[in-house]
Point group: C2
Chain length 203, copies 2
Amino acid sequence: MADQTGLRERKKAATKAALSQATLRLSVEKGGIDAVIADDIAAAAGVSTRTFHNYFPSKEAALLYDFNELVAQMIGALRERVRDRPVWDALRDACISMRIDERFDLELLQCREQLIHGSPSLISYQATQFVAFFTEALGIVAEATGSDEDDMYPRLVLGAALLSMKVANEHWLAHPDRPLDEVIAEAFANFETGLARPHDHAP
Amino acid sequence: MADQTGLRERKKAATKAALSQATLRLSVEKGGIDAVIADDIAAAAGVSTRTFHNYFPSKEAALLYDFNELVAQMIGALRERVRDRPVWDALRDACISMRIDERFDLELLQCREQLIHGSPSLISYQATQFVAFFTEALGIVAEATGSDEDDMYPRLVLGAALLSMKVANEHWLAHPDRPLDEVIAEAFANFETGLARPHDHAP
DNA sequence: AGGAAATTTTGCAGAAAGTGCAAGTTTTCT
DNA sequence: AGAAAACTTGCACTTTCTGCAAAATTTCCT
């Protein structure tokens, strides 16, 4: 994606990163993305407001830029894994393979979680991205399970997996004392033997 | 809610309903809520644009007005049921008790589903409502299971239940040949014995 | 019924997001 | 260097949504 080609490409990448970072910084400073206006972000990154909107359709997109990158990668990770193991395992392994804990700074993640939690506009934006992701992943899952796309099963499996990942992530951000992959595995395990009773978790 | 008190109350309810219906009608006519502007909705309902925004914060809220009413009722339904049965059963029964199939016209639901599916702004809005609902329901589930609110289990159970309901609803809208409660029960059943293999469903 | 009080409607002004367009800059390529 | 391609910018414009104060309407009390 970030090909080390010409100066132009590098500049563009730098601008995009600067805009994204500026959005985060300003949002934290002002205690919420809604208190930040596009003009300020553009100014902070040293470009015009119009240019900001050339790079991102909204403040929300700017703030969650690298998160979206990550989500995009997960499609690939999933596609690889469904070839040589059961869907459920493929989903779990794909989630774990994202290595969010290694790729991002814990504080940054917590910070962003805070912002998302407190802002309807960010929740909204994320939901839209989620739906797009779900739709794409659904095709993979449906094919892997040999089911029709409007069967309930692939949707339930995929939904449960993404729910596990989301819940595990949130939990880990609040209690970063255990490794993330372990927490993800534990969340997934809850679906493996029936949900009726709480699943025992490792001490 | 719709107390048959004075004229004023009745007029307000009528206006609100008129605005909501006008939003739906115009959205269908123009093939998407994004093609409809607030001015048109207000005009169609015979009030000023400002008044439209007195009733609803957005077009999306107007379109999904009665859906939100329903979601609000589900909190009550759930709270009742967690008292005398296991959480999972309470969740399933609460979902079924909504009787969406009886309370709404099938065509209207399909119509709205179509609109939501094709509009990021509606997806966004619904997500925000969903998060609010999830948060409130989580308190109930956590208490009922005797777990802490930041344990993963209550979130997973609640998430799985709402996922089941959503998937069942979508499936039923696309294939309304079986009764909705049966479809919901089937979706829930997938989580009762482990997700590893597709759950057999009644022929 | 009549009039005061409470509530609702409405228009206006204004902030902010987001988009199209055309002109000005910068990078690339030959 | 110089033409071509790509990027940036300013400007005008549409739309959403909010605050405020003036009108209009409903309710309530006597």
